[in-house]
Symmetry: C3
Subunit: 242 residues, 3 copies
């Protein structure tokens, strides 16, 4: 949950010169900030930019041989328009772990490279929230996506590989250097919430439970309940009741 | 529920010179008319025309500053083929409130204009029934679609505007005058059921309940249980058990 | 359930020179073969070929005037790429009963012909399992698809027709003769499971129950629990826990 005080100052700052979508969302969060109900926080990227992004501070180094990464996404950028970066973990040298929605509507994961990713033909992203998870395990190289709790075909990718520490995780932009060299035509536009990451592979049953709002172990790399984020540029965090 | 007597006369009339789809549906309704089970009525537009439409008689004037409009839709007209009118409220002067599925698959709402609508990238319509709702509120201008109970991103549209009374509501055609000037290439082909409309914004939880078949307050503009309709041209109302 | 002994020999044979997807799945099944948990078997067609197919041995002749055919499908072959054969029942003379995903993403059923099928605009197949059923009844000619338990619009097709016995049922290829003349560009690539077929039309409620994993009468033409299959070429049967 984002602290109310910080939110209110964000809101005031943003009330000048913001987009219609943004102002709407802030009206919503102002209204809701006065209640005691359980709240859900969501990142809003209202327009395409090459400057706006959110850095996520992991609870531990991304020195990992397996992972589960989940998030909820909604976007107006339909298939056929352009590619969209969904998650970027970049070190000085490499795109260590990137997840993309390609312009043809497929999804792709890249490890330690921006070439030779592994591609999946999933249902299309749209303006309704999609619950997306991605699992990968070094020992077998097994990779799979989950959409709204249902698993994709599994594919082999980078068996024996290990994700290296020392980089930065951002949402909203694809960095071609550590935290820079962004391209507006790859930026994310829309809403992101429920970003969670584990350094192990959750079972299919757990990911179905997560999608259904049931209890699963909290993410030990990112836990959306307690996550530490740095917002940069035209991106805002709003809360609404569940 | 449509009255059995009227249905039977409809059916007999339509058994001459009707389309294969139509005849099938009538066979179904004849069979079902003899039972006591709870029935659901559905409008069938079997072919594209510039003459077939259904006028809906509202329970109160459409002089409204907010609304929720819901309907279930199924169509064989895939994205990429052509635009489809989903709902039209037309006064002498204006398209007061129109809802479209555009040819690129997006959805668009227009108020008091056929230009400058607000567009949403929703899941595609297809031959499986889609439960679609649209909410709008003048005070904030907030608009949102719901597909099968799940909300889209919200957008601002026509803040402070008011829908004016004195028009006519039709399904199946886009009127460029009060009840005329139809275009076959904009007509609806497929099935429409569960058309309900309220003069206020239902909560996300209520729209989820409506999609799940749970109780919500009945529409005070249109209530599909008791709605008064006038069928024109090659369109029929059939009933089947729930 | 495939017999464990046969599976293990399959697995050993396939560990030499197999595709990455295949090897992954075998690792999974080796692991699972040692448990006592309830298992689900799935056919995997890892790559496009004009040689790999699975023949299904029906419990009774396909001399039928109505049917329900169900299966679960997952594929990476997106719409726009090419057509895919989903089910083929071929006699010496005819394609008695074929089901296709066309290249434009629509689905088509053909009876006793490879022309003049009946077409449906359904949600797209993708790498997430889709539960697909198709019903047809000679008396009315009524045909309908069901996707994940939800019914399509109904259409009339081949009223009064009867499916003739004496042919062979295969998955994976479109035979232009009894069991031959395959075309690599029509082959199925992906996973198929839960193939069941009845010589009557299941109700909408039953098909919804089947999709929800509830009890329905077992298929009397094909019953996936006890089905007898012959695997040919690069196709494998693996089991995983439910």
């Amino acid at each position: 949950m984002c602290p109310p005080v910080q939110m209110e100052s964000n809101e005031r700052a943003l009330l000048n010169g913001m987009s219609p979508l943004l102002s709407l969302l802030i009206i919503g969060s102002l209204h809701l900030a006065s209640t005691e109900r359980p709240m859900k926080k969501t990142l809003v990227f209202p327009v395409a930019t090459d400057t706006s992004y959110v850095e996520l501070m992991p609870q531990k180094d991304l020195s990992i041989a397996s992972f589960t990464l989940c998030m909820q996404l909604a976007t107006e950028l339909a298939k056929g328009k352009r590619e969209i970066i969904l998650f970027a973990y970049r070190t000085e040298q490499f795109d260590e772990l990137n997840v993309w929605r390609e312009s043809d509507g497929t999804y792709q994961m890249f490890m330690q490279s921006s070439k030779n990713g592994v591609s999946f033909n999933l249902p299309e992203l749209n303006t309704i929230q999609t619950h997306l998870c991605l699992t990968w395990e070094s020992q077998t190289g097994m990779a799979a996506f989950y959409v709204n709790g249902k698993r994709s075909l599994r594919k082999l990718y980078k068996m024996g590989h290990r994700v290296l520490p020392g980089g930065r995780v951002i949402l909203g932009q694809d960095p071609d250097s550590l935290l820079g060299n962004f391209d507006i035509n790859q930026s994310f536009v829309g809403e992101i919430t429920d970003v969670n990451m584990w350094d192990y592979v959750l079972s299919t049953a757990m990911i179905r439970d997560l999608n259904d709002g049931k209890w699963v172990p909290r993410g030990n790399i990112f836990d959306w309940e307690t996550i530490n984020m740095k917002l940069n540029g035209n991106v805002t965090l709003f809360s609404e009741d569940l």
